[in-house]
């Protein structure tokens, strides 16, 4: 599945552009992270991408075919931020909601839908939570349930809104690893918003950095996440340190204490 955004533009008011002439292409089984300051338009971009907001101009295409509102497509699933749930649905009910696109208009989940839902819970390693009420779960558990719900629709592309926000260290790692597995083992493409350049560097193939007035930078993560770009887009003096000398195959972002 190949996703393209062609000349996407969006603004809430005339004098402030949020997104302008944004182009990107994402191939099957690739991971895209979106970075940017608070309020710069990361969530706006996701909303335009999924079709909740309408582009002012430009469009999104799947496999070369123009689509209005891709989250309505069967191949696309959306994972919202795991805020608290008011209604005490069980995890199984919640995941079964992901089957809705495959169900008839008046239908409720069939035995098959429920089996698929249980499989998805197992895939996320939370089968033991199937009977637990979502209103009594921790943030990490709930986020896993949401991802399982996305998987239940058997998607080729999953779009996530800050899945690791508000999670502790261990749960952040858990979520990122599960997502990485999905991309590598199942060939599912992922697009996710994040506040952590470190996370983008760790798991993504491509990175989109959004800046003010519709400015953006899109490319392979290795080429995009440079000291220069971080300094420019986040206005924080940063050094990227290669940890190879310490025997760790990763890079670390170090924020220098003096800003600008």
């Amino acid at each position: 599945m190949r996703l393209q955004v062609v000349k996407g533009s969006f603004s809430y008011s005339k004098d402030k552009k949020i997104l302008e002439d944004l182009n990107l292409t994402l191939d099957k089984g690739k991971f895209l992270c979106i970075l940017g300051q608070n309020g710069i338009g990361k969530t706006t971009f996701l909303n335009c991408l999924t079709g909740i907001l309408k582009w002012d101009s430009g469009y999104v295409s799947l496999n070369g075919k123009r689509v209005d509102g891709i989250s309505k497509e069967k191949e696309v699933a959306y994972v919202p931020q795991a805020r608290g749930v008011d209604f005490p649905f069980t995890a199984l009910d919640m995941v079964a909601m992901g089957r809705t696109k495959h169900m008839g208009f008046f239908a409720t989940p069939t035995r098959r839908d429920r089996l698929i839902s249980l499989e998805c819970l197992e895939m996320m390693g939370i089968l033991d939570l199937a009977d637990r009420k979502c209103s009594q779960m921790s943030g990490g558990q709930l986020q896993m349930v949401y991802i399982a719900r996305a998987l239940a629709s058997n998607p080729r592309l999953i779009i996530l809104d800050e899945p690791e926000a508000h999670l502790d260290f261990k749960n952040q790692a858990l979520i990122l690893n599960r997502l990485k597995d999905l991309v590598e083992e199942k060939g599912i493409s992922c697009i996710m918003n994040t506040h952590h350049p470190q996370h983008a560097l760790k798991i993504s193939d491509y990175t989109l950095i959004l800046g003010e007035n519709g400015m953006y930078h899109y490319g392979e993560t290795m080429d995009t996440l440079t000291e220069e770009n971080i300094n420019q887009y986040f206005r924080v003096a940063t050094r990227i340190v290669d940890l190879k000398n310490l025997g760790i195959d990763e890079k670390a972002f170090v924020m220098l204490s003096k800003n600008e």
Binding site: P80, F87, F89, T90, R114
Partner: protein, 339 residues
């Protein structure tokens, strides 16, 4: 492959239905005129076989108590089911037909119909339905003016709209003819089952039944809508259209209940929350459970209203007196679970 919660739901619905039958039967022989249980069987047997007993017992049980109990079940169940669906589609556990202003809106429509007089058949019912739809529309519109969804905004705009239509009802009472129209409006608005008849039961069964059927068919959509519009959209359903269909069905049910028995509060908020906490949040089970629970609650309350004092207590007073403490208990239990 039945999960723990589903077994619990099936059992609760079964037990609820049995309790409802038992309480309905008890209500047939309890009252200020006591009838022995055996006599109740005799009367029912004779009616079914077509040999009507021309006795006081026959009159009390078959012509007065039985339609009244049937109406209890229909109205109680209808209001509870409408509450379940309203709470789901507005993603808000504090709303109900009366809080959203639907009850007062429907009441206003019906009162206006009575005032105008000489309407075609079902004219008053149509007025009640339109009044209910208008009020829930206004409530929802007001709550949308303020950006950023909050639970309280919807409740507050509901209260505003509700009291507006309450005032309009008062105005109609003021200008109504004191000899003919005013007594009928006042008497009906107090919320009473005393006027139950088979014609009434038939009217309610048809329209509440239709509404319940629609809600049941759309029960999975109510689940999805309770996740919020953005998620509903991403899960593949059109939130506005589906919500509209469900709100119309709920308003249909509420307007019918208001037509039949006046404005009865509380039940549409308490029953959904009780059943959601103790049985299931999945509307496939929650809707039938709350319908049965609402019917049972209403049968019991109406029984108390009939037998506790010499003069019958208006039903609205009792639902509030019993409903408010239940609500507080549930509310605190929920808070405790969260911490």
């Amino acid at each position: 492959m039945l999960m723990k919660e589903e077994r619990k739901a099936f059992m609760s619905i079964g037990i609820g239905a049995m309790l409802l039958l038992i309480m309905a039967f008890v209500s047939l022989f309890l009252g200020r005129y006591m009838v022995s249980p055996g006599m109740v069987f005799q009367v029912i047997y004779h009616e079914i076989t077509g040999r009507t007993l021309a006795s006081v017992e026959q009159n009390i049980i078959w012509d007065i108590r039985l339609p009244r109990i049937m109406l209890n079940i229909l109205v109680g169940g209808g209001l509870a089911a409408a509450g379940v669906a309203f709470q789901g589609v507005f993603q808000n556990r504090l709303v109900s037909p009366d809080i959203l202003g639907v009850s007062n809106g429907a009441g206003f429509g019906a009162a206006l119909g009575l005032l105008l007089g000489r309407l075609p058949p079902f004219g008053i019912a149509m007025m009640a339905f339109c009044g209910g739809l208008l009020s829930v529309g206004i409530t929802y519109a007001i709550s949308k003016i303020r950006k950023g969804k909050s639970t309280l905004t919807l409740v507050l705009s509901g209260i505003v709209v509700s009291s507006f239509f309450g005032a309009m009802i008062s105005y109609i009472k003021l200008v109504a003819d004191t000899d003919s129209v005013l007594p009928s409006i006042t008497y009906w608005l107090m919320g009473s089952f005393a006027g139950a008849s088979y014609a009434n039961v038939f009217f309610c069964a048809t329209f509440i039944g239709l509404g319940l059927l629609v809600l049941h068919l759309l029960c999975w959509k109510i689940n999805i809508l309770s996740m919020g519009d953005k998620e509903a959209y991403a899960l593949g359903i059109d939130p506005e259209k589906n919500r509209m269909a469900i709100v119309i069905a709920c308003t249909f049910i509420t307007a019918t209940c208001v037509m039949a028995t006046g404005i009865i509060g509380w039940i549409g908020m308490i029953m959904p929350n009780l059943c959601r906490e103790f049985i299931s949040a999945n509307n496939k089970y929650l809707l039938p459970a709350a319908t049965i629970g609402g019917g049972l609650f209403m049968v019991v309350i109406d029984l108390v209203a009939r037998i506790s004092t010499a003069a019958e207590i208006p039903i609205g007073i009792l639902t509030a007196v019993i409903g408010a403490p239940i609500f507080i208990i549930v509310f605190f239990k929920q808070e405790g679970e969260m911490n």
